[in-house]
Symmetry: C2
Subunit: 221 residues, 2 copies
């Protein structure tokens, strides 16, 4: 979808403010050129202060991206666009992030087994207000911001304790919200999804492209 | 899901009777060891003689897998299990396979743009009747066979002519049923799916694992 504007996009400095190898891979696969600069923002917002999990994910993504954008602003090589994202999982009003150890991963997978849960990613695009190309819909300090989120329902198979234990032993659970990775061995556990697959991997690719096309294809630019 | 039986599976000779790099990648990603031996079966069945597209896909998959199984049967190194698959796309009772040229790819994408279509993959597992491990549900010649199919609904974004043209120019359309590949640039065109993502890539991973677990985990084995 980005092909008509890819050359223009790739002539700018895009920065992905995330250390997730999945997000990097998704964006590289569509031919985007960007630098990866993980954020130093400590993910410590009070979850109970947000009405919806999507709001928590958006706010965490915003703090991550703004920290990177501000750090680069004072450098010789500021970013034209910083991309921030945060992924959480919800089931029955409970919010799940990355498991802290094997037992925690087993608990999460036991909860998800035989039912559905939602993967929600908040995405933030941050550009300097001075940018000629990019205008967001909000303004924070010297930055212009666009934000959106995407929700995908995931249906997990009914798993035996043996299958859960063996999966956690693969080590795939760690550094992944919900304790599984749909793109590799974890994909075998998933009966199906409803929504954007890439969102389950950690980045809602389609909505991201729609937002970028709005920015770069605007007739008044 | 296959972890508890993976060691046993990988001690056998598994053969994937398909030249699709996506199917190979999906099965490699879950740690399966197998050889790739593409079938010589010419995909020329009369589509009009099948009531449902799934029946056509299953029959094509069966012919592909049986050709390979028979070829190996007379060799020094016969297969313990041959895996065959065929993927087709349907929309409004029309059946789509791989586009034959750029114009054909553009026509397909124009039909899919702004609506939904279905990706259907038929999968066949073929083993020698003499196999001690594996018993299928049907019998053909000297082989024991299990077959199933999986259907995923895909919602494509409303695409401009410019986006369709630019996508076809990437060259991604060819060798792919429906003229797009969801796993790379084509993923940007897809708003969402309902069902197994890997089925859209050409192989219904979850159902395949469920069938293998039935075979290898049977208490009477």
């Amino acid at each position: 979808m980005l092909q008509p504007v890819l050359h223009q996009l790739n002539s700018q400095r895009l920065v992905l403010a995330s250390g997730s190898p999945r997000r990097k891979q998704i964006l590289e696969n569509i031919g985007l050129k960007f630098d990866v600069i993980p954020s130093n923002f400590e993910e410590n917002l009070d979850k109970s202060s947000f009405k919806h999990p999507a709001d928590y994910a958006r706010e965490t993504a915003k703090r991550k991206a703004l920290e990177v954008a501000k750090r680069l602003q004072g450098s010789d090589n500021p970013a034209d666009l910083v991309i921030g994202a945060d992924t959480v999982i919800t089931q029955d009003d409970m919010l799940f992030e990355k498991p802290s150890n094997k037992e925690h991963a087993r608990e999460m997978l036991t909860k998800f087994s035989g039912g559905s849960h939602f993967v929600c990613t908040g995405v933030i695009l941050v550009a300097p207000k001075a940018s000629k190309v990019y205008k967001g819909t909000q303004s924070i300090d010297d930055f212009s911001i666009t934000e959106f989120d995407s929700r995908t329902e995931v249906f997990m198979s009914k798993l035996s304790q043996e299958v859960i234990d063996a999966y956690v032993e693969t080590g795939e659970s760690f550094d992944k919200a919900g304790g599984y990775g749909i793109q590799a061995v974890g994909g075998t556990l998933i009966e199906g999804i409803k929504g954007d697959y890439f969102n389950v991997m950690g980045f809602p690719l389609h909505k991201f492209c729609v937002e970028l096309m709005k920015i770069y294809n605007r007739p008044d630019k």
